[in-house]
């Protein structure tokens, strides 16, 4: 199958520090790709590069067949088609749940407010929060906020979802509800790239797993082989740490 997104030889430096040292990655439609690795290995930066929040230093990114790495002013058009979920949710504090979800469709896609809000309600049901349309972000738990953030990203009808450590800032008891929503989306065929430390999620929902270390891909395999087959020592050590 043709990949939905194909990144080749991605390099990224901040000043003199090279954070990504030539990363190749591709994801086919409907696939759930999980990025694992220790902190500072460049996973989050890679994700930000993929939707052009960070300009790459060199390399190419093909999204839906077009080279987006040098999109320049058109970058915002590309981002409309790629949803992103952040570690700290980043819901807009001045807007209710419903308006958080409807803002971008109304302002960016010029959707009629009534229609956008109606869709926002459906999305709230989808993330299992049908009774919270009027709540403000600071009235919600972390898990609820993150599910609203997922709904907000989905409102733009993206073809690819990026999750940047979506459960790292959550209380343990709310992690499950967020992973649940992500897994349901993946099962419905949403293409997604997930940076996470949740091995359980990787085992359940991933099709493919990439292990990053020090700005490079250290190991890459289909899920079954990643968790079942022979893996390099470095990966085994990391998995061992995480299991404890």
């Amino acid at each position: 199958m043709t990949p939905l997104l194909k990144a080749t030889a991605i390099r990224k430096s901040f000043g003199t520090t090279e954070v990504l040292k030539g990363v190749d990655l591709s994801v086919v439609p409907g696939e759930c790709l999980v990025l694992l690795g220790p902190s500072g290995s460049g996973k989050s930066t890679l994700l930000r590069c993929l939707n052009l929040l960070e300009p790459i230093s060199s390399g190419s990114i093909l999204f839906d067949g077009e080279d987006i790495a040098r999109a320049g002013k058109k970058a915002s058009l590309v981002r409309q088609r790629i949803g992103m979920v952040f570690q700290n949710f980043e819901l807009f504090q001045h807007l209710s749940t419903l308006d958080n979800i409807a803002l971008a469709p109304i302002r960016v896609k010029s959707e009629k407010p009534a229609i956008a809000r109606q869709r926002a309600r459906h999305l709230l049901e989808k993330v299992h929060l049908p009774d919270k349309p009027d709540a403000f972000p600071d009235e919600l738990s972390g898990g609820q906020q993150q599910r609203v953030a997922i709904a907000r990203a989905l409102a733009m009808e993206p073809t690819l979802m990026l999750y940047d450590e979506p459960t790292s800032a959550l209380d343990p008891e709310t992690v499950g509800e967020v992973l649940q929503v992500m897994q349901e989306l993946a099962e419905e065929g949403m293409t997604s790239i997930v940076v996470t430390h949740e091995m359980g999620f990787a085992r359940r929902a991933a099709d493919h797993v990439i292990f990053m270390d020090a700005g490079r891909i250290a190991h890459e395999a289909a899920k079954r082989d990643f968790f079942g087959g022979t893996i390099p020592d470095r990966v085994a050590r990391f998995l061992g740490h995480v299991r404890q």
Partner: protein, 244 residues
């Protein structure tokens, strides 16, 4: 003594004093609005990475913060006519006070904009918003809530500062009082009447500001517990001790 208070009361309810107070309010409000517009513009200029913009903003701040506002007022009033620009005193007053206020408002606007976290902008950009949309729909609405208390302070300051315009023959409260007194040498009475007006106006503003701050606090992101003078005043006046 009875005579004195009779005169004060007569002045307070007289038409010239009431008109003078109206002029004072009009000058202050108009200058504040000009100042906010200029301040916002200066704040945005400083956000732009292109050096000439920042140099222009810096030069403005340097010029207007580095000279006395009374000097600016007299300069506008007396120098512009020699270039063929003859403006009514009121316009000169608003121009000078507004441009000067802009130099201070810029810093308030800037701190408001910066108080909206990077993550919020990033989330907005990730949804496909252009920089202008990010500013308008995500950053400014949140910044506004942050800058309302300091703007209230500026308004109160402006009301007092506006007394300076009496030197360029704008019929504000102070000029009315001064002229009334110079006709019959009842300085104590005339100036007391003006003082009563000033106190009444600033008190109303302080109370209004405290009410507004209280209403906004619910939606404030960071719960910084800091009581302004006006809040303490309100707490004293309205319900001693129950202001959180």
């Amino acid at each position: 003594m009875i005579n004195t208070s009779r005169f004060i009361i007569d002045y307070v309810i007289s038409a010239p004093f009431a008109d003078g107070a109206l002029i004072t309010i009009a000058v202050s409000l108009a200058s504040l609005l000009v100042g906010m517009a200029v301040g916002l513009l200066l704040a945005m200029l400083q956000e732009i990475r292109w050096a000439p913009c920042r140099i222009a903003a810096f030069s403005y701040l340097w010029l207007f913060r580095g000279t006395p506002v009374l000097f600016q007022l007299i300069f506008v009033f007396n120098v512009l006519p020699s270039f063929g620009i003859v403006l009514p005193g009121f316009v000169c007053a608003v121009l000078a006070l507004g441009l000067n206020e802009g130099a201070y408002m810029a810093e308030i606007m800037r701190s408001g904009i910066h108080a909206v976290g990077r993550g919020q902008r990033q989330a907005a950009r990730a949804l496909g918003m252009k920089d202008r949309q990010v500013m308008r729909y995500v950053v400014l609405p949140q910044a506004l809530r942050i800058i309302i208390p300091p703007i209230g302070n500026q308004f109160i300051g402006m009301l007092k500062l506006s007394a300076l315009v009496s030197v360029i023959a704008v019929n504000d409260l102070l000029l009315v009082a001064n002229q009334t007194a110079s006709a019959n040498f009842r300085y104590l009475e005339a100036l007391s009447a003006a003082g009563i007006y000033y106190l009444a106006m600033t008190t109303v503003l302080m109370i209004g500001q405290a009410v507004l701050e209280r209403a906004l606090r619910h939606r404030r992101r960071s719960a910084i517990v800091r009581m302004s003078f006006s809040q303490r005043l309100l707490g004293m006046v309205v319900n001693a001790g129950s202001v959180r």
